[in-house]
């Protein structure tokens, strides 16, 4: 049997997550009971997906890649980033796989491994989260300006009337709102990040 010892590799105690196959790892990192292992490759998910046309792989194909251990290709796929979280596939899946939540897990893993083709979506998520961590509330004006300047500068002139419309109708505020318990929230999130970090080594 080939063991790390016979190969003369470092013999540190392997972390739990490293013993898992890719499929098991994705499943273990998903909230709730993902049932990803139960996928029967029927393709109902891809057939139900309103955005499948823009995806590199349908969810079915992506899950086959996870089962085959194709880590790099699976994490590079744009599929989780195109997923609109509409849950059509989730309610139609005969095996009750938590497909949308698996997509969230894959996004997190892709960010962690810095494996994505286009940074627009990860940047948007991160900017949104930065604002929430700073204020406790979402801050649309700050989010929109930062995001559009970086990723869609050419869309800005066309967007200006809409932005001004939202501002003039007071549907967007220039100043952010901060919750009273922001220090409490920051302490909670700091602890949560430590827990998350400890979990995956």
């Amino acid at each position: 049997m080939v063991t790390p010892q016979t190969l003369d590799l470092p013999t540190t105690v392997p972390k739990q997550i490293e013993d898992l196959t890719l499929l098991e790892e994705v499943s273990a990192r998903t909230a709730g009971v993902s049932r990803l292992e139960m996928c029967i490759q029927c393709g109902t998910c891809g057939g139900s997906c309103p955005a499948a046309a823009d995806m590199d792989h349908t969810p079915r194909m992506l899950f086959a890649m996870l089962r085959a251990g194709m880590r790099q290709a699976a994490l590079m796929s744009n599929t989780p980033w195109i997923c609109v979280s509409c849950y059509h596939c989730v309610v139609r899946c005969p095996q009750n796989v938590h497909i949308a939540d698996v997509m969230y897990t894959l996004k997190g893993m892709a960010i962690e491994a810095k494996l994505y083709q286009d940074s627009t979506a990860p940047d948007f998520s991160q900017t949104f989260v930065d604002m929430v961590e700073e204020y406790g509330r979402s801050y649309e004006f700050g989010l929109a300006t930062r995001h559009y300047l970086k990723h869609f500068p050419l869309r800005l002139p066309g967007m200006a009337p809409m932005g001004m419309g939202l501002l003039s109708k007071q549907r967007m505020s220039i100043t952010p709102k901060r919750i009273k318990g922001i220090q409490q929230l920051k302490a909670i999130l700091k602890r949560a990040k430590e827990i998350e970090g400890g979990k995956h080594g």
Partner: protein, 334 residues
Amino acid sequence: MAKYLLYPGCSMESSAKAYSESLAAIAKPIGLELEEIEDWNCCGATEYLGISLTPAYALISRNLALAAKQANGNKVVVAPCSACYLNLAKADYYMREQPKLGKMVNEALSAGGLSYEPGTLAIRHLLDVIIYDIGLETVKSKVVRPLTGLRVAPYLGCMVPRPDYEKRWSDHEHPIELDLLLKALGAEVIDFPLKTHCCGGHMTQIGPETAFELIRRLISSADQYQADIMATVCPMCQMNLDAYQTETNRYFGTNYQMPIVFFTQLMGLAFGLEPDTAGFGSELVSTKRALAKIGVEIAETETAPARPKKSSGLPMPKPLPRKPELAEKSEAEK
């Protein structure tokens, strides 16, 4: 009076203020007493879940912990926003399905002196509470200005009827609750086939072409069914279909002018409220033509002040009047 804990969510204070204004206006007549969760925070929308699991669920659960602390006998949290509703319900459900998640979340919450026992609260959407607790009879009894002749497309979007962890809705894909409510208001409700299809969600920000196609499908379907107006239960749906309709039109070379408002705004009108009390006037696609059908006068939605003039080199497609009689009218005005 039934008393509920309200989780408004960030958009209710900004992009969806028409929703909160109209909700405030209709709550009293139907006997819906709402108590806001103090110092609630953002639910993370669909963004935080894609970045890191424990922090995302801890962020959501701070709200659950605050609500449970504040709950004084009433254990029902009402969320008017679809994404907020789903996130709160999802956290509560997954922490029960997978106790390990509950343990991690509570460990994080303890850093802020909070805790939450999963299953303590019932998380429900506003429409669910209005239909199943308040009841259609109560709603009907308050109608003084029936929406007779107004063709409404009921549009729920995705996250209210799906995944529906607690089986609260009549169907995942074709639920009838919103149809029943709008019928109770006297409206002519079209059998809208795309009523739970996706508005594109955050794709307007990160992959506009994907979003525009989803928006086009919804608007063109409602238009084919000759709906005068769409009624929604979700701030994101309203925002995408209303604020991005011009961009969608420009992208496809179409001229749709399909107004979309919150169902609570139509309740307000049916209850006899003035349009501005019911939150009208902040929509970007004008509701004037639709409201004229039920004899309600509203000022034409004023165009945004910074709308580029023709000479600025940014041509906008001119909206075509849809009905021939209106075309004649506008010709005559010239």
